[in-house]
């Protein structure tokens, strides 16, 4: 053990982030509520610096740190950048909302960064233990964030449900990991892969563990039948938190799944493929069909998330590098879309009024045509209507399953996305064809307006020029999966 083994440089972003969080906590202690803007500015600055450090320490091949416990590879780097951007947008969108509800505290910002740190670890871990601790760091921060809104019974309930079910899912995951350890004698992903490939591992134990691991992962993604928490937590927690849960953590969960299933248990692809097919079909079906029956838009978006996770799984099911990069593309696109959707809900909400019902969007076009248009972009993109980027995302994952011969699965997913189009278009109908019932003006801070507009227009621009991002995903995947 020496400094060379430690090799901290690849983890410099995480180290900086942790230092910055501690500083922010200290600084925030000395600030009054009126000066919370300073903490906010520091948090955004931290994110910006993290992004800069991330870019400047980029390497086109994987490098290891912390005695091989931590890896920095192009895929991780790209996802981390996306997570910084996402968290940045989440904080910008939620500032006004949280302030109006009196929960815009330093802890909110610090816990958001803690969650981000947890996600970074999930993305970069190469060992089941560090993967798990990253996951717990994220989850714990999220539970606390939801519970921060203490006056709200619903939020407390949501936090409780999330916590208990999350603990159960962690239990499943750990049990599965212990089985894998039993079969291979190691917890390093690379060594696990080597042991399985070498044929020395106990196959029954492995697959038995795999079932539990897949269940735990499915919970984190929110795939059916491990999805029950999603609608309740989305509905119960404040809109800002629902947005946060649905955004960056999905990116982290995607890489988390990829590291475990592909980099660790890649040799068991024949087994987990089938499990993921079941999860994907159920998620797409139940997500899309149940969403139709929802009148609460947060719940509707929750079911929409479930169905999107089904689509994401399609890319993983393929078990090919193209499929993985398609899934990565899908995840990034999904996060962009979901940010816009929730961003609009936050913009329409105001002090004392929560935009929660579908009816609350009635006549949005008459109230503010620009936000209606942005929401329209998000909805069209989620429905997968060209030329918005959601279309290419769906196309890419569906193509990847067609390529491995699962045509029926492709057909099912197309049918499901058609069913899904119904409830997305219903939102558009409410916005454009119904008369407004609420005349209060929509007041939004300029920074949020700018970021939200850029975010939504990106859906259109990426839809017209998807190639660059798609190629980035393919490249990152290629550079990262070859090693390890």
């Amino acid at each position: 053990m020496n400094w060379a083994d430690l090799n901290l440089l690849p983890a410099s972003t995480e180290l900086f982030m942790l230092t910055a969080i501690l500083l922010i906590l200290l600084v925030d202690m000395c600030l009054s509520d009126a000066k919370r803007g300073i903490t906010y500015g520091l948090t955004l600055l931290t994110l910006a610096i993290c992004a800069v450090v991330q870019v400047s320490t980029y390497t086109p091949y994987p490098v290891y740190a912390f005695s091989n416990m931590f890896v920095a590879d192009p895929m991780g780097g790209m996802v981390k950048l996306a997570m910084y951007a996402t968290t940045f947008a989440v904080l910008v969108y939620s500032r006004q909302y949280m302030t109006e509800r009196g929960i815009f505290s330093g802890e909110y910002l610090a816990l958001s960064l803690f969650a981000l740190l947890g996600m970074n670890i999930m993305v970069s871990a190469t060992h089941f233990l560090s993967l798990y601790i990253g996951l717990e760091l994220l989850s714990l921060s999220l539970y606390a964030l939801i519970a921060l809104q203490r006056d709200s019974v619903q939020a407390t309930e949501a936090a409780m449900k999330y916590f208990v079910l999350g603990a159960l899912a962690s239990g499943l995951l750990l049990y599965g990991i212990s089985m894998v350890y039993g079969a291979t004698g190691t917890l390093f992903l690379a060594d696990v892969a080597k042991a399985i490939a070498g044929g020395s591992a106990n196959h029954v134990l492995l697959v038995f563990g795999l079932v539990f691991i897949v269940s735990g992962l499915a919970f984190k993604l929110g795939a059916v039948p491990f999805h029950m928490w999603v609608p309740d937590v989305y509905q119960g927690s404040s809109t800002a938190l629902a947005m946060m849960i649905g955004a960056a953590p999905k990116l982290a969960a995607f890489v988390f799944v990829l590291r475990i299933l592909v980099q660790g248990l890649g040799a068991l692809v024949a087994d987990w493929q089938g499990m993921l097919v079941i999860l994907a079909v159920l998620s797409m079906a139940i997500g899309n069909i149940t969403a139709i029956a929802q009148t609460n838009i947060k719940r509707m978006l929750a079911y929409s998330t479930i169905s999107h996770m089904g689509f994401l799984l399609l890319g993983l099911i393929a078990g090919t590098p193209e499929g993985y990069s398609a899934a990565m593309f899908y995840t990034i696109v999904y996060v962009l879309m979901s940010l816009v959707g929730f961003g609009i809900l936050l913009a329409v909400s105001r002090a004392g009024f929560e935009c929660e019902k579908l009816e609350d969007l009635r006549g949005l076009n008459q109230r503010n045509s620009w936000y209606a248009f942005l929401m329209l972009l998000a909805m069209f993109s989620m429905a997968g209507i060209p030329p918005l980027v959601g279309f290419y995302a769906k196309l890419a994952v569906i193509k990847s399953v067609v390529d491995i011969g699962l045509v029926w699965l492709a057909v099912v997913s197309v049918v499901m996305s058609l069913i899904g189009a119904f409830y997305y278009l219903r939102v558009v109908k409410y916005m454009y064809f119904d008369d407004k019932q609420d005349n209060s003006p929509i007041v939004v801070r300029a920074d949020m307006k700018l970021v939200l507009s850029v975010n939504a227009v990106a859906l259109l621009v990426l839809g017209m020029l998807p190639e660059r991002l798609l190629m980035l995903c393919v490249e990152a995947m290629k550079q990262s999966l070859n090693a390890l």
Binding site: L165, L172, V211, F226, D232, M275, I278, I292, L395, E467
Partner: protein, 681 residues
């Protein structure tokens, strides 16, 4: 070079975006300045490029610009192919567009949609440039659809007029038919020609497929190339308004006149001609397809000319003459004389744009009255319009030394050297067409510029709307004809300047361009002719001894005398003895009705396709929608979804323990499925 080409294509787009999105902010003046600037940059650069090609300094440029999407091994990219064919189209498009931009300043002066209009025409220019610069089918198709889209937008520009929206819809629907064929053609290309949509790859793959056949109906073998070519040509028929898909073009005159000049005369309608020329390596391999092209072109050339004879709306006369001239170009394609067709595209673009703009000038002078029966003697009031119209008409009918003469005569010569079975019919149709063209052109010319000032005597008649006339209904903000005591005035300089500028090439371009363009091997890199099977062009080249010799030669051939006969007949009918046409009209009433009803094609289409499809639609609606979809699928699905959601909702109790149970059951199910063998044993 790449940046130069990008600049050519993108500068009109920039103008369009600025005028379209920020037109409200920057005002009218800035809107036209910025769009004209954009197009002027394109035009100047195109001219420079054409010069480079003419002097042999430029090389064929073929490279991708941006890979747009890769799906399933198929690459869809934006790419430029710039060769002599492109260069000539670029010059035609940008220069006519520039003229039209300038002209619009005067023509649309009072229109509330001024900035929108400039944005549209610049957008059109951009789309057209992308179309002609494309190096692959997919971009070609996008450009194709984009020009179509702008064309629909512009036909319906005065969307408050019901006739305009009808014409707009008609153009849209008829073009869909053509596009359907075109898309099928592209599909065949993608499926059989090596899986690439790049021209170069497709042309390289074509020779190997010469004898390949496909089965469309079981048991009937079709040559792949013939089917592909005919389908592609169906696309060209829609866009270039060839019989029987021509019906939209006359109605498109509902749009503002600058549009008629730019889109429906000079550029967009020649996209079909351009496309077939571009695909010459494919078409050369299928004699059947060439015959089809010959027949379609010949019918269009002659029969659309007849219709021009009975029209009273000045713009419609020019519109039918456009149809007829497009027929000429198509015939040239069928005779494998692609270069001649392109030559005619160019000359026609200039003189037909000139005629349209002159007609527009007349319309301005007549305060938006388009009926020729109310005009007459305008030469005194609008001298510049008069002279330029005369130049345009002379060019159109093929007067020696005018540009139209060289291109049209070359087409007729080319057809006479073609050995295809349909060439005989085509040649006859073209010759007869020469007479008809001369007749209706000068009928219009005499009615408008000579004779008595009729608006002074029978002004009332144009308020009594008869059938040809109803499309003249204009919105309230337009003037409604001249009152008897008014006199028309010459249009402002922004209107007459383009007329003069267009008149110059209408006269000169033929003389100077025929040798380099057709016989100088200018198109050798872009047009491929199978000289063994279609030796027409080589024979033509042997007979060519320079532009002057062509004139002397023409004195001994039929077309010139037919044209003269046409002019004389028109003079007799409309200047000397105006009672004759009326007499003929009554004697041959059925023929006249047939012509006035445009061969009843609109009625037939309406009865067969519109009513038929409506009946079919009703059937489907009753049986399919009401019974199956509404009854079973929609309501059934709704019920199913409702029931399903009900079940799911029951599971979604909100209690943690039931969620946890669900998760455990999920794990259990997975375990059971994956270890069924072990457990059941």
């Amino acid at each position: 070079m790449m940046s130069l080409y990008l600049l050519i294509a993108l500068s009109p787009l920039v103008g369009s975006i600025i005028a379209g999105l920020f037109g409200w902010a920057i005002g009218r003046r800035a809107a036209h300045v910025v769009t004209i600037l954009g197009v002027a940059v394109s035009a100047a650069l195109s001219l420079k490029m054409l010069h480079a090609f003419l002097t042999g300094q430029a090389e064929v440029f073929n490279a991708p610009v941006y890979t747009w999407l890769t799906v399933g091994g198929y690459e869809f990219s934006v790419g430029f192919l710039v060769d002599s064919l492109t260069a000539i189209m670029l010059v035609v498009v940008t220069s006519v567009s520039l003229m039209v931009h300038i002209y619009t300043i005067g023509y649309m002066q009072e229109d509330p949609g001024y900035q929108r209009f400039f944005s549209y025409i610049s957008l059109f220019t951009f789309s057209m440039l992308m179309l002609v610069m494309s190096n692959n089918f997919i971009q070609l198709f996008f450009g194709w659809e984009a020009v179509g889209l702008v064309s629909y937008l512009l036909i319906g520009f005065w969307f408050k007029r019901p006739t305009a929206t009808f014409a707009n819809l008609k153009a849209f629907l008829v073009n869909r038919v053509g596009d359907f064929g075109f898309l099928l053609g592209i599909g065949l290309v993608l499926a059989y020609f090596g899986g690439s949509l790049n021209y170069a790859d497709v042309f390289a793959a074509a020779p190997a497929l010469a004898s390949k056949t496909i089965q469309i109906f079981p048991g009937v073998e079709w040559s792949l190339l013939t089917v592909t070519c005919i389908l592609l040509f169906v696309g060209a028929m829609g866009k270039s308004a060839q019989f029987p898909l021509h019906v939209w073009l006359p109605d498109s005159m509902e749009g503002p006149t600058p549009i008629s000049a730019l889109i429906h005369a000079a550029t967009m309608v020649t996209a079909g001609i351009f496309m077939v020329s571009r695909m010459s390596p494919l078409f050369e391999m299928s004699d059947t397809a060439l015959n089809v092209i010959l027949v379609a072109g010949a019918i269009t050339a002659l029969f659309m000319g007849f219709l021009g004879v009975v029209q009273n709306d000045i713009k419609r006369v020019v519109a039918y003459s456009t149809l007829s001239q497009l027929g000429y170009m198509t015939v040239a394609l069928g005779a494998s004389a692609y270069s001649v067709a392109m030559f005619h595209v160019m000359t026609h673009a200039f003189f037909k744009a000139l005629l349209f703009l002159a007609a527009g000038s007349v319309i301005i002078g007549m305060h938006h009255d388009q009926d020729m029966r109310n005009m007459g003697g305008l030469r005194k009031y609008m001298p510049i319009t008069w002279i330029t119209s005369l130049v345009g008409s002379l060019a159109l009918i093929g007067t020696p030394f005018f540009s139209g003469f060289y291109s049209k005569d070359s087409i007729i010569e080319a057809v006479s050297t073609s050995h295809l079975p349909a060439a005989g019919f085509a040649q006859f149709a073209l010759l007869a067409g020469v007479f008809v063209t001369a007749f209706y052109s000068f009928r219009m010319y005499f009615l408008v510029f000579h004779g008595k000032e009729r608006w002074m005597e029978n002004h009332d008649s144009h308020h009594a709307h008869d059938e040809d006339h109803e499309d003249e209904e204009v919105t309230a903000d337009h003037h409604h004809g001249l009152s008897p005591d008014e006199t028309p005035h010459e249009s402002p300089w922004v209107v007459t300047l383009p007329l003069v500028l267009l008149a110059i090439p209408s006269v000169l371009v033929g003389w100077f361009a025929i040798k380099p363009l057709i016989y100088g091997g200018f198109f050798k890199d872009s047009i491929h002719i199978d000289a063994v099977r279609h030796p027409g062009m080589t024979e033509l080249a042997e007979e060519f001894h320079g532009p002057l010799a062509m004139v002397t030669h023409s004195l001994t051939t039929l077309p010139l005398w037919l044209a003269i006969a046409g002019v004389v007949t028109a003079w007799v009918f409309y200047m000397k003895a105006p009672q004759i046409p009326a007499k003929i009209k009554s004697t041959f009433a059925p023929v006249n009705t047939l012509l006035e009803k445009k061969y009843y094609l609109d009625e037939i289409y309406f009865a067969v396709f519109a009513k038929g499809s409506r009946a079919l639609g009703t059937l489907f609606w009753k049986v399919g929608d009401m019974l199956l979809i509404d009854g079973l699928i929609v309501n059934g699905t709704a019920k199913l979804v409702g029931a399903f959601s009900g079940v799911v909702r029951k599971l979604q109790t909100g209690f943690i323990y039931s969620y946890a149970t669900t998760m455990i059951v999920g794990v259990l199910a997975l375990v059971t499925i994956w270890f069924a063998q072990l457990i059941l044993r």
